[in-house]
């Protein structure tokens, strides 16, 4: 019984990381209609940036999340300006090609800078936890869940209440018309990409606190984040949140009942089944 509860908890924590990644991808897709397959590599770089901030500069692990967010946002802005802007609106496959090239670039830059060995960010609460009867919950997991909640609330406020959020929503609906209404869509694009990248950076820092990581961890989370977006519906942030939680829990439960080798396969099986039944995703709108 306690095993199952812990499985569910880990599922929620995994889900939280997936939510950040999937929301970032979804914002980018929603506003720019761009698919960035190198999103998981931004997570990986985020984990390494937070690691460097925590070990080299002796920052608290949870403060290093902020460093990761800012750095990855800047990297994201640079990427949008230098690569994606040039292929945006050309062949859809070109975006996939560029992001695949970026995957190679990021992974190997990480290998060159930080090496291939597994690393983990040292948390100040290592080994400490709440114990409720048989189940013990580490503070890190609880903190991760609260950090994600805070970030999501901030994101919600940003999109619903601020001017740039309004511009983003307008661009996502009709980019041409919003341009005519005086929205500088190039600025909106660069901001959107930086925002999505920042979310990936935050996800990476949290990942680095909870799990050990190396330069090749980025690939699978990207694919899973895409799966979540498709489950939740393209462009829908609530869908990404619900999808992310469900996915994290489903994945961990599958490992608990079926064994570790099924971890990745079960998720994709689920995805393929959903897409066959509903090509637009569970909560997706018709037409996309």
């Amino acid at each position: 019984m306690s095993g199952l509860v812990e499985t569910l908890l880990w599922g929620v924590v995994n889900g939280c990381i997936y939510i950040l990644l999937a929301t970032g991808l979804n914002i980018i897709f929603g506003v720019m209609k761009l698919v960035n397959f190198a999103h998981g590599q931004l997570l990986m770089i985020g984990a390494y940036v937070a690691f460097t901030a925590a070990t080299v500069f002796g920052l608290n692990a949870y403060l290093s999340i902020l460093v990761a967010i800012v750095t990855i946002a800047l990297i994201g802005a640079g990427l949008e300006r230098l690569t994606f802007r040039r292929v945006l609106g050309t062949d859809k496959l070109n975006e996939i090609f560029v992001s695949l090239g970026l995957i190679y670039v990021f992974e190997n830059v990480a290998v060159l800078l930080w090496g291939n060995k597994l690393k983990q960010i040292k948390s100040p609460f290592q080994g400490l936890g709440l114990s409720l009867g048989e189940v013990s919950i580490s503070y890190d997991l609880l903190l991760a869940i609260s950090v994600v909640t805070v970030i999501l609330i901030a994101l919600f406020v940003l999109i619903k209440k601020t001017k740039i959020g309004l511009a983003m929503r307008a661009t996502s609906q009709r980019s041409d018309t919003s341009m005519l209404m005086g929205v500088n869509i190039e600025k909106v694009y660069i901001f959107t990409f930086a925002l999505g990248a920042a979310l990936a950076g935050a996800a990476g820092a949290l990942y680095g606190i909870i799990f050990p990581f190396n330069p090749s961890i980025g690939a699978l989370p990207t694919i899973k984040a895409f799966a979540i977006i498709m489950l939740g519906g393209l462009g829908s942030i609530p869908g990404a949140i619900i999808g992310g939680l469900l996915y994290g829990i489903a994945e961990n439960t599958a490992v608990y009942f079926l064994g570790g080798i099924w971890q990745d396969a079960i998720a994709f099986a689920l995805l393929i089944i959903v897409l066959v039944i509903r090509p637009t995703g569970l909560f997706g709108e018709k037409g996309e």
């Binding site: 698919v35 397959f37 690569t83 040039r86 292929v87 050309t90 062949d91 859809k92 496959l93 070109n94 996939i96 090609f97 560029v98 695949l100 090239g101 970026l102 995957i103 190679y104 670039v105 992974e107 190997n108 830059v109 290998v111 060159l112 800078l113 930080w114 090496g115 291939n116 690939a219 694919i223 895409f226 799966a227 498709m230 080798i261 099924w262 990745d264 396969a265 998720a267 994709f268 099986a269 995805l271 393929i272 897409l275 066959v276 090509p279 996309e288």
Partner: protein
């Protein structure tokens, strides 16, 4: 417009005739002559480890290109490479099918799996399909690991001998590649190819003029997986061993890189791309010690900076090609050819005057 209608009603015979009359014919003849003669002058090692993989990956990349013609993309083509390889090897070992039939049965099996996957996802948009195929290549690894007692894929096993390695195997692969690529060329010149192009240009409009887009997308997918399976069977033969690592994402991204670098949606693109990438992968490791001496002290956390630097430059190369040379290296070659043609024209004109 007229040309389009001529294409639409053109039969294969007319295509062959126009191909024979076009300049391209001489290029193809020249390329085939080079491909046939070069192996006679190089060492066995080069034939086995460089030229044969080049030819096999040309088939593989062309199969990916065929899919791209219809506006679809796959990020999990390694699934079909692997299925082709495993099926052809297992058929020969477990059921005693002669390896040459095993090769084709393996490709057919790969196409059959492709049909099943395709049926599930022809309605999906380009990047959805890319994701699903990637997911499928992950699932296949799990399945093969799960049924390891029957298949034995984790440790791998040697494949049965089809043709003597070295020159005979090279020429067989070369012939198969020539047939495959020519078949794809005719396919793209036929009505079916026109439908593929129309779907890629604008799916909605293609539907409006009466093209059954789902059918043609499925056809493209099945044909592509057939050729990927053929490449897989040959690949398993060429390395004489098959293992579950053939499903790695590396093998899924390889055809994509070759096609994009060579020239997307051109017949010569996969060939040029395959030659470039295989040469890079075979010969660039030789400068690793030099790179280690030059760059090693800068990156103390890695023991050998060669492989990551190589992969890094490959990634950069891909991005640069897509951004600055969207039609690939082949378009560059055309430009150079045209430039020289203009030169000769001008010289002729001057001499005429």
């Amino acid at each position: 417009m007229q040309k389009m209608f001529a294409n639409l009603f053109g039969s294969i015979g007319r295509e062959l005739l126009s191909f024979y009359r076009s300049e391209k014919f001489y290029f193809v003849l020249g390329a085939m002559a080079i491909g046939a003669i070069i192996p006679l002058f190089v060492s066995d090692y080069v034939v086995g480890e460089v030229l044969t993989p080049m030819i096999i990956f040309t088939i593989y990349a062309s199969s990916w290109n065929l899919l791209a013609y219809s506006g679809q993309g796959s990020l999990g083509h390694a699934a079909f490479l692997g299925i082709g390889g495993f099926a052809s090897a297992l058929l020969a070992i477990k059921l005693g099918v002669p390896p040459i039939f095993g090769l084709f049965l393996g490709s057919l099996f790969s196409a059959a799996i492709g049909l099943l996957i395709g049926l599930a996802c022809v309605r999906l948009k380009a990047w959805f399909l890319a994701m699903v195929t990637f997911g499928f290549s992950v699932i296949i690894v799990t399945l093969i690991s799960q049924f390891d007692t029957v298949i034995g894929g984790i440790m791998g096993f040697p494949t049965p001998l089809l043709v003597e390695r070295g020159l005979p195997f090279y020429y067989m692969t070369f012939a198969l590649a020539a047939i495959s690529i020519f078949a794809m060329y005719l396919l793209m010149k036929s009505k079916m190819g026109l439908a593929f192009r129309a779907i890629h240009e604008n799916e909605l409009e293609a539907k409006m003029i009466g093209i059954n887009t789902a059918k043609y997308r499925l056809l493209a997918f099945v044909l592509s997986t057939f050729f990927a399976g053929l490449a897989g069977g040959l690949y398993a033969q060429s390395i004489r061993y098959i293992q579950v690592s053939v499903f790695d994402a590396y093998y899924s991204f390889l055809p994509l890189m070759m096609v994009v670098i060579g020239g997307l949606r051109t017949m010569e693109g996969p060939i040029i791309g395959s030659v470039i990438i295989v040469s890079i992968e075979s010969y660039l490791p030789r400068i690793d010690p030099i790179m280690q001496g030059l760059m090693g002290p800068l990156f103390p956390s890695v023991s050998n900076v060669g492989p990551p630097l190589r992969m890094l430059s490959l990634g950069l190369f891909l991005v640069i090609v897509v951004v600055f040379l969207p039609k690939g290296v082949s378009s560059l070659l055309y430009k150079i050819c045209n430039y020289f043609r203009e030169e000769t024209k001008e010289v002729n004109k001057l001499e005429g005057n």
